[in-house]
Symmetry: C2
């Protein structure tokens, strides 16, 4: 098994922190997104979607959605469960992970990719050429702020995003709060539960280890 | 446990066919989307996101993402597995289900909700007021067509969407191919693998049962 990755980008970050929380090491290879290596002929042969991360299994099967890579890793290394141990936990972790991806990560990506010159013709990730739509920038910003209020409310009632235990939902939400700085959105100070939780997660060894990986 | 639903809409459809494939019956209550009942005060108290489906558990917990409802049902009624029985199956079913949601269902929703007068101010589902962006209509149509080509290629190599067994990935893709007709997109005849598979799925008893439910 081998992970194709670029550890500073938000989607690969979710997988790296997931692996570090489990204490699992797998071989990986960097795909330099800044040099657009994900669009190269060589990488297209590995993952025709031209996205990272991509997990290549021993038999050549490629898994390229973060949630699906994490399902594979959770089944293969079940010891420290991050996706729940019973029906209700699994549902709630999936609920918050999925909502965070749709309502926050995709909204941030909209605000970033429809504005920056670096993403001209590439307003969506992947192989398809997609022109920018500037109206998606304010829509994205409004959605991020709306989601942060919901997240704050949830964290007022719960220590972690999906309840009383750390889970994949925390990883996705943490990555999303950090990613929002790329579009100059910061959660307002009055969202005190969100900030309490963000400080807690920042102190986890997995986050420090991931930072080291990014700094090479 | 109780499911709040509107069986003709694409998201609830995924849950109904999932339940019918498992042979499981749970109590449900209709939320009339045509009358905008999902925005009523009464429904807001049940699901503040104002979306259907929503599964309310015995202890009052609300699960409102389709994938998360299905995780709950799969854990509770594991007998006919629809989300995989080992690491690789789970990952591949998740991969295709998730891709279909992001690349097809959301693209169709973009093409529908940013055009029709019925969705003015409600270009995204849920409680937030979101204005329409007409440029999302052609972007959505292009993405749907791109995804159907990918799905056709996948079905040229596999009997079902995620491999040799029927799974949740087939349900989501089937719902998505039917939903695309709402924006007048039909997969071209030359996508023969997609059409072969669509005919196969159409003949499943779960699909006939779901149709009966829609026709009251």
């Amino acid at each position: 098994m081998k992970l194709f990755t670029f550890p500073t980008a938000p989607s690969p970050q979710r997988v790296h922190i997931f692996l570090l929380e489990k204490g699992v090491q797998i071989p990986f290879e960097f795909v330099d997104l800044q040099a657009k290596a994900q669009l190269s002929e060589a990488y297209r042969k590995i993952n025709p979607r031209c996205t990272v991360p991509a997990l290549v299994l021993e038999d050549g099967t490629v898994i390229s959605e973060v949630i699906s890579i994490c399902h594979y890793l959770e089944s293969t290394y079940p010891e420290i469960p991050l996706m729940g141990s019973n029906a209700k936990e699994r549902a709630l972790i999936s609920e918050w992970d999925h909502r965070t991806e749709l309502e926050s990560l995709l909204a941030i990506a909209d605000a970033l990719r429809n504005k920056s010159d670096a993403f001209q013709g590439r307003a969506l990730p992947g192989a398809l050429d997609v022109e920018q739509i500037p109206e998606l920038v304010p829509r994205g910003i409004a959605r991020i702020n709306g989601f942060f209020e919901i997240l704050n409310e949830q964290l007022g009632d719960n220590q972690y995003v999906a309840g009383s235990a750390f889970s994949m939902a925390d990883i996705t939400a943490f990555v999303s709060v950090n990613f929002s700085r790329w579009v100059k959105v910061q959660a307002p100070e009055e969202l005190i539960h969100l900030h309490r939780w963000h400080r807690d997660i920042s102190r986890r060894p997995s986050v420090a280890e991931h930072r080291k990986l990014c700094n090479g």
